[in-house]
Subunit: 400 residues, 2 copies
């Protein structure tokens, strides 16, 4: 975690306050305001039970001209029916009133327990207070205000020179449990002071999420509330509008890096996680196939408990590869490596493999499992963590 504080993004101000949404002593409500002309793009959960704020945010973002984001921790406002929608709208109206904008210019986000109504009055009381405390310096507090079972804030930043100008990129995220491809109780906010036209920003957020948050897994569950928001304030950086320019490539690379750093921080802080493992699949016939195998390995409870035990139980790796539903997989073509140690050769135990060598890799806090399917040229990777006693404890006791 960075000890230094995150830089300001001209055009963007933040305030974190304690709305006492749960019985805790901490900030749990974050207000972010954007300059006029800022562009905003977002991706949202694909869970059919998407939360009320997701429904409202999707509606509001369609109109563009977003001027504020409101994020609360401690209550997801999900599975709360019509009243949930009304509560989310009431929060937007309160923000609008405090900032003299329209309710439709506010995007609401919530994370926390599902199925309980928002303690609306607490939010309505806290919103005007937050509106008086806005500051460009608020990113670090913001990263803490959105946490739920996270044990630490997740932040990333880059400063890059593009077309002779300094461009700033800052990101914050929260994650922990329920993380899975296609978004999860994962909230991420990335902002740059560069100006990026809306259509390009829309494309960029999808690409960045695909390369980062959609490649991580904590427990295979996907939440009702996930969202990843990318903001281009344009308040001080250059206008970068040509998709085929070197400038765009450099900006995109830096923004994707920030997303990946946040996504990896979420896995490393997975509920109860003690290991950070990259699962690479090579030699696949297609990218889809490679990802399918990578997720099957990375999400198998038997693999994840073996990771926790630092037990190079490679039988569970081949079991998981075999379960991925790859058509006509020839197991005798499959090789598996633990970092540089070959453990499976042609579908069986590699001749030179020793338990000691495998154990040495599995004992490390971070390592890579590489599966070569031997049937094509495509490769993909994901990041996962182990399944520990602590995971069960956290999730068995979450509401108490």
């Amino acid at each position: 975690m960075p000890e230094t504080s995150l830089p300001q993004i001209p055009g963007i101000r933040l305030a974190s306050v304690a709305a006492n949404i749960k019985n805790w002593q901490r900030d749990d409500l974050l207000l972010i305001t954007l300059n006029e002309g800022a562009a905003v793009s977002a991706t949202f959960t694909q869970n059919a039970f998407c939360a009320a704020p997701v429904t409202v945010a999707k509606e509001h973002i369609r109109n563009g001209n977003i001027r504020a984001l409101l994020i609360n921790a401690g209550n997801a406002n999900a599975a709360t029916g019509e009243r949930g929608i009304e509560d989310a709208r009431s929060c937007c109206s309160a923000v609008a009133e405090a900032l003299h904008i329209a309710g439709e210019q506010v995007l609401p986000f919530s994370t926390g327990v599902i199925g309980e109504h928002l303690p609306l009055q607490k939010l309505l009381d806290a919103i005007p207070v937050a509106a008086t405390q806005l500051s460009g310096d608020g990113w670090d507090s913001a990263a803490r205000a959105i946490m739920t079972t996270d044990t630490r804030p997740k932040t990333a930043s880059r400063l890059v020179e593009i077309a002779g100008e300094q461009v700033r990129i800052v990101g914050i995220a929260k994650g922990a449990g329920m993380i899975q491809p296609n978004m999860a109780t994962m909230l991420a906010y990335v902002a740059t002071d560069a100006a990026i036209p809306q259509p390009l920003l829309d494309e960029l957020v999808r690409e960045a999420v695909s390369a980062s948050f959609n490649r991580i897994s904590i427990d295979g569950d996907t939440s009702t509330n996930d969202a990843c928001v990318l903001i281009a304030s344009g308040a001080s950086g250059p206008l970068i509008g040509d998709k085929r320019s070197a400038e765009y490539e450099r900006l995109k690379a830096a923004i994707v890096e920030v997303h990946i750093e946040l996504a990896q921080a979420i896995v490393k802080d997975g509920e109860g996680a003690t290991k950070f493992v990259t699962v690479k699949v090579q030699g696949a016939a297609s990218s889809e196939e490679a990802l399918k195998v990578a997720f099957e390995v990375g999400e198998s409870p038997l693999v994840k408990t073996a990771l926790y035990a630092s037990d190079p139980n490679w039988g569970r790796l081949v079991m998981a590869v075999g379960n991925a539903g790859v058509d006509n997989l020839d197991s005798s073509q499959v090789d598996i490596y633990l970092d540089d140690v070959q453990v499976v050769e042609a579908g069986g135990r590699a001749a030179d493999y020793t338990e000691e060598a495998g154990q040495a890799v599995f004992s490390k806090p971070e390592f890579t499992i590489t599966v070569n399917l031997g049937r094509g040229d495509c490769s993909e990777h994901i990041w996962t963590c182990d399944f520990s006693h602590e995971y069960v404890t956290i999730n068995a006791e979450y509401r108490t």
Copy 2:
């Protein structure tokens, strides 16, 4: 578990011996012999890394005229390459020699650790001993000999009168971890003394497995070694050869019951399981959709840890329903019941629901979660268990 011993099935003899496949003091090798004319059908794992004995058994069963089954616990002979195949064949040959039959008339099965070669000599030494100890009374010892992480043997039996004759049905199974639809490290052997023509038996085993073992889930993993075998000795029961007869219906019902009883016993003895939960999905547009939702709920680690905690965290239930990938699911049509307690009504918390009522259900060792999708007339059910500290312990320490 039944205190009484299982009945004999005329035509079938068994012997369990200690081959010391692992460093344990127990029987771990089971030999079953069948009378001439017995019909045998089986279903096998769909894992692409199917174990060597599965490959050999599939080959042998195609020729029919099976006269013996050999099952060992402690070593799966999976991911063991060509040598694994040779080892499985050597075991079949040893059985053949001891019984004066052909190697192709023997079906081999193994369960245990993946990726280690069979301690072949130990099996070859034990097989002739087993062949001298065959008895019709061996079912109870057999159920114990095939256990791995199972904490208790799984048995079921029925005695039904069909066409004026007594028909006997006996079944044994082993399961515990790695249980998932489409078969898992699950071995089941069901036998009847009725005579059933091969084509009808082939159909019957598929129907029985579909109604039983393919509806259970411990951890969502599928093993390399699963097999379910149905034997009709025909040695004393009636010939039941007409699929449309009332006699066949009665026999089928009893055989399916034995399969379901064994499947449920496997879930109840799931690794670390403390709860037995039926997940019913009603109002689905198709059976596939209903099963997909049922498994999404029954396999979600977040749902399973909530079951363990006896925490009626119904937010996780709606999260799982929303994740099932049902096309155009209208969450406002979804109702959920915990036994008879309605917890979700029209996608939100039911008006009359109280935490106390939900808690009372979740505190029971067995209960039913019913999801009504409100979009059709199809319904399906599965059986699952919780995810406990003990699950992590067992799977983190399995090889040590």
